[in-house]
Amino acid sequence: MADLLTPEQMRTLAQQETLEGFVEQLAGTSYGRISTETDGDVSLALEKVFYQKFIERMMGIVDLAPTNIGDFLQSYYYLRFEAINLKRIIRGKYSGLPTSQIIESLIPITPYRVESYEEIVGAETFQDAVRRLEGTQYEPLVSSLELSEKYDALWPVEIALNYLSARVVFKSLERLPQSDRGLVRRIVQAEADVENFLVAAKQRSAREKAHSPEEMFPTTYGISLDMLREAIEADDLTAVIQGLNPPYNEILTPLYEGDVALIRSRLRQHVYDIARRGRAANDFGFNVIMAYLVFSEIEKDDLVGIAWGKTQGIAAEDILKYLAIPN
């Protein structure tokens, strides 16, 4: 835990006037001096650096942890990152981006449940890219193509990928002792619930062509399908959000003012709290490891946000508002 940044350090980083100041301040932390020299976009290069740092930390833990915990953590994080990479590949193919640009956008991990990302990127069309997942753990995505073609949209594939990842994570939880599963389950469920609600809220603006809630939300947890349906059909979301149980009614409050990004920030804070409470309840074993990685991932997300803000010259208060750790 000692190499993680404290809320004060994160605040100081966000308050730096320039990118150079941010890099200078970061040099005094466990990140050391990082280079901002690149031919392309500095914020994208820095994002890669922060991802690499997080992956290094995660792999360090995987190597040291007992086999069952190591296997679970590798599966949990690699699956999530691989899901992001697959989405970026599918989106890239859908919009006809050049192969080099798609590969450039990928999170720097070695392929986990697929042979090679280059092979999928080499597909002619996005449908072809999805079909190349046949024979892998992602095979169920191929059946989502039918819905994708029906609506001429990518969301059915993306939603199928989200639920597939969540299912695999829950399945891999079985490798952990019963007592260690609660923390991960709470985190995954909270994230899925909030994401489901945000998708439902987004559907409201396109209600005339709203898709079936059953198709869109094949799995629900703390926010039921009925509540999601209510959110899609409601004229005013205020009453629907107030009717949700804590912490969702608090996390989703910024929807009243249309500040959706703040919801993500509150969700990260909530996940941070879940990990902190989990660690407080059991300061040994899995919970400590998981809390360290949760804190580390949130730190990575906050640093990516600060780095982008600094490259764009965004005021510190506008950046701080959306960070999880200093708040």
Partner: protein, 192 residues
């Protein structure tokens, strides 16, 4: 006579130019009034849209934002056509196709994109009005200079020339009259 015909033509032209000048001034005043109101409103809307885009970038990270944004197939398509007011040509922007923000975007980005899209029409209209006002002001300046030159230099100089010719002709006809009188007087004395 030729000079008189020409100055008549110049004076009529000057009147037309004055009419054009007045019409352009009226158009310019209207355009400036519209621009004043719209620019302030647009700046505020842009601030809101920029805040939403900033929030999306900080929340999702630049790579994810760019990956999602590039998945939008339907792009903005414009055509710039010429329009004219009192012979002054200015560009008119015709939106051929509005980008459609479909279900591909994350809600954070989708909200930001909608805010940017709602400002886009105003930006295009403002650009059109600014260009129109700029060109009208330019033409107004030119027309004003032409009217001033005609009223203060060319017409007076033509009038001066005409007056000189008229004076000269009057003088010559007076001389002719005097000469005729003298000749008439001399002939009368010889007959006596």
């Amino acid at each position: 006579m030729e000079m008189k015909r020409r100055i008549g033509f110049i004076e009529r032209g000057t009147e037309f130019l004055k009419l054009k000048r007045d019409h352009l001034a009226k158009e310019l005043t209207t355009s400036i009034d519209i621009l004043k109101g719209r620019r302030g409103r647009l700046l505020e809307e842009l601030r809101v849209a920029y805040r939403a885009v900033t929030a999306a970038y900080i929340s999702l990270g630049p790579t994810e934002v760019q990956s999602q944004a590039k998945s939008i197939k339907s792009r903005l398509e414009l055509e710039v056509l010429p329009r004219s007011v009192m012979g002054v040509r200015y560009p008119y922007i015709k939106v051929e196709k509005q980008p459609k923000i479909t279900g591909e975007l994350d809600i954070t980005l989708s909200e930001a994109a909608e805010k940017v899209l709602s400002v886009l029409d105003d930006i295009l209209q403002l650009a059109e009005y600014e260009s129109r006002a700029e060109r009208i002001a330019d033409e107004l300046g030119k027309t004003n200079r032409k009217v001033n030159a005609l009223e203060n230099t060319i017409i007076p100089s033509y009038r001066g020339i005409i007056k000189f010719i008229e004076d000269k002709l009057d003088e010559e006809s007076l001389e002719e009259l005097v000469r005729m009188k003298l000749i008439g007087g001399a002939l009368a004395r010889r007959r006596e």
